[in-house]
């Protein structure tokens, strides 16, 4: 069981119980102690179910941002048989916040595109904590065009607080590349599967989020704006982030209700970070099944369905 250094306050009771179990287990266990440990383990499992089954919207954001949460790089090794990284946008540079490359899954050759947050502090800084620059989106577009040329399905793993807000990003066309990427994906002539694995932050997420199937992990979020950003504008202070998180209806089942996503993928008990292997196995199952469905459709039909899928989104009244 993965137990890193980072513990969210909401996880505290779980870790306390686990510490208690660990303490008991340091001594050789008699019959009675063994039964006690068994009982505590059951309680711990119930506690995890209870806590993670009742996360409030802000707690969901905390879990989605959990430092131990599996990232694109983890799924690349746990889900795919091979990953051959492809670098660079052939124009400006190679943005480490956007990973692209060939991969194999269930005998399918695919192209994977994914946000990368990094693990060490140096990696995180290089990746700007998962916030891609225009060259990242240009890299993604370049590789997606390549995939379309050679008939490789595209799998996008979304995990970003948002596209990077900076001087260079604006100078190099952050708005332009996100628009172009959606435009490209809308009619790309290969299957596209998108999965929000952690943070689905706004335009930076949607920039690689236009696909035939869009799934969201149970405790991930996907939002028009970060709760802090929304609170800052509408409540005039980021302190109201929990109110904003609630108002924005950004959690997996909300998204399903609004018809924006196709599937919620259950997380292991206690969240994806407690069992990355199990999470990866579930993600793999989803990807394999979905790929099988999508590759059987004629490509013209697929692209038409993709158009209709996004065309239907929205809520309005009509006279």
């Amino acid at each position: 069981m993965a137990r890193g250094l980072h513990r969210l306050p909401l996880e505290k009771p779980i870790y306390e119980l686990e510490d208690k179990i660990a303490d008991l287990e340091t001594a050789p266990l008699g019959q009675q102690a063994q039964e006690e440990v068994q009982q505590l383990r059951r309680e711990c499992a119930d506690l995890q179910k209870q806590i993670f089954g009742n996360l409030d919207p802000w707690q969901t954001v905390e879990v989605a941002r959990h430092p131990n949460r599996p990232k694109t790089s983890d799924y690349l090794s746990l889900v795919f048989d091979e990953f051959v990284e492809l670098h660079g946008d052939k124009a400006f540079g190679d943005d480490p916040a956007m990973l692209t490359g060939f991969a194999k899954i269930d005998r399918h050759k695919v192209l994977v595109v994914g946000h990368q947050k990094g693990k060490t502090l140096a990696e995180k800084q290089a990746c700007h904590f998962g916030c891609a620059h225009p060259e990242g989106y240009r890299k993604a577009m370049g590789k997606m065009r390549l995939a379309a040329k050679y008939g490789l399905p595209v799998i996008c793993l979304i995990d970003t607080p948002g596209a990077y807000p900076g001087i260079g990003a604006e100078e190099r066309g952050q708005a332009q590349v996100i628009a172009e990427s959606m435009f490209l994906m809308a009619s790309l002539k290969v299957p596209i599967i998108c999965v929000v694995i952690g943070e689905g932050g706004s335009g930076g997420a949607l920039g690689i989020g236009v696909g035939d199937r869009v799934a969201v992990l149970e405790h991930a979020y996907y939002s028009v704006i970060s709760p802090e950003g929304c609170a800052g504008i509408l409540w005039k202070s980021a302190e109201f982030k929990a109110d904003a998180a609630r108002a924005l209806r950004m959690r997996a089942w909300d998204l399903k209700e609004f018809g924006v996503i196709d599937k919620v993928i259950d997380e292991p008990r206690g969240g994806a970070h407690r069992d990355p292997r199990l999470m990866a196995a579930r993600l793999k199952t989803f990807l394999e099944r979905t790929l099988k469905d999508l590759v059987s459709l004629p490509i013209e039909k697929l692209v038409e369905n993709r158009y209709d899928k996004f065309r239907r989104m929205g809520a309005f009244l009509e006279d």
Binding site: I51, G173, A179, L206, I233, A238
Partner: protein
């Protein structure tokens, strides 16, 4: 066993201030940068004879400004024009016909900040006389029939929710089937509208997908960027023109200046995120002053075989 609201700080303090400020698809730009002379007077308040230009601070005779299409006669600063005024300025008299005016906003999230969104819609409608932030339709520009959409920055900062997205998508689809040139004039400081949550974000994909089909059919799309064009509007249809024009000195960009400043903690260069800045960096075809917009659009249509 529900946990109390966490008061613990983020585990990554180096990213905390960034997150607190980050709002990539919309931003509070209306409080920054050059502004138009105050909003239009409220009903019942007599119109002032004089205006103060926020570009050069001079006092301008209102009538003179209106004759100049709301451009400052002293410094050339382009002030706010409403979507309706824009249509009057651009179309041959009496030729504009509105499409999809019967689409009306609703409140899918039951969203409420300091004020419920449902109430905000009603008060914005009363204040602006618009049903939502975009007008779409068809009309003649120097005798050339076009499909046209205009967003109005006075309606919830010109932000794109479901009605704006749906009106634009229908406009683009109709331009595709009727083989009409397409003009969209953006004035949206608010980007994707927060109050409709994820549905607003998805309008970016929906409209961009419609534009992809329109483009495949060979249609000409002229995108005109005016002050301000930001966030999710800049990051979707506004940037997808075959030709991208901008009015002078408009604020145009992805992230808001405040967000950027809070993230990188340095002063932003003078002229950052203006039309001129975007032209210099290669993202705009032409900067066109308002007086020439109509003739320049007509000329571009002629060049592209409209």
């Amino acid at each position: 066993m529900k946990q109390k609201q966490s008061t613990q700080t983020d585990h990554k303090p180096e990213s905390e201030s960034f997150r607190n400020q980050h709002d990539s698809s919309q931003h509070p730009s209306m409080t920054e940068g050059p502004r138009m002379p105050g909003p239009r007077p409220k009903r019942g308040v007599p119109e002032g004879l004089w205006l103060k230009c926020n570009g050069c601070r001079s006092t301008i005779y209102r009538k003179e400004a209106e004759e100049m299409l709301n451009v400052c006669p002293q410094c050339g600063f382009h002030w706010y024009v409403s979507a309706k005024q824009r249509i009057e300025q651009l179309f041959d008299p009496g030729t504009f016909e509105e499409w999809d005016g019967g689409l009306l906003p609703t409140d899918p999230l039951t969203f409420s900040d300091k004020k419920p969104y449902a109430k905000r819609i009603v008060s914005e409608q009363k204040r602006t006389g618009l049903s939502d932030a975009a007008l779409t339709g068809t009309g003649m520009i120097r005798a050339r029939r076009v499909a046209c959409g205009v967003t109005d920055s006075s309606f919830i900062m010109g932000s794109m929710g479901s009605v704006v997205g749906e009106r634009l998508a229908r406009l683009i689809e109709r331009a595709t089937t009727e083989s009409l040139p397409l003009i969209i004039i953006s004035a949206s400081g608010g980007g994707a509208r927060m109050h409709e949550g994820i549905l607003s974000l998805m309008q970016m994909a929906k409209v961009s997908a419609a534009l992809a089909r329109y483009s495949e059919s060979g249609g000409l799309f002229i995108s005109v960027l005016t002050n301000p064009t930001m966030g999710g509007v800049a990051a979707s249809f506004a940037s997808l023109g075959d030709l991208v024009f901008a009015e002078p000195r408009a604020l145009i960009g992805f992230a808001g200046p405040r967000t950027i400043k809070a993230t990188i903690r340095v002063e932003l260069p003078a002229g950052f995120q203006t039309s001129e800045f975007l032209l210099e960096h290669g993202f705009i075809d032409r900067i066109i002053s308002r007086q020439n917009l109509k003739s320049e659009i007509a000329r571009a249509i002629d060049y592209c075989g409209g």
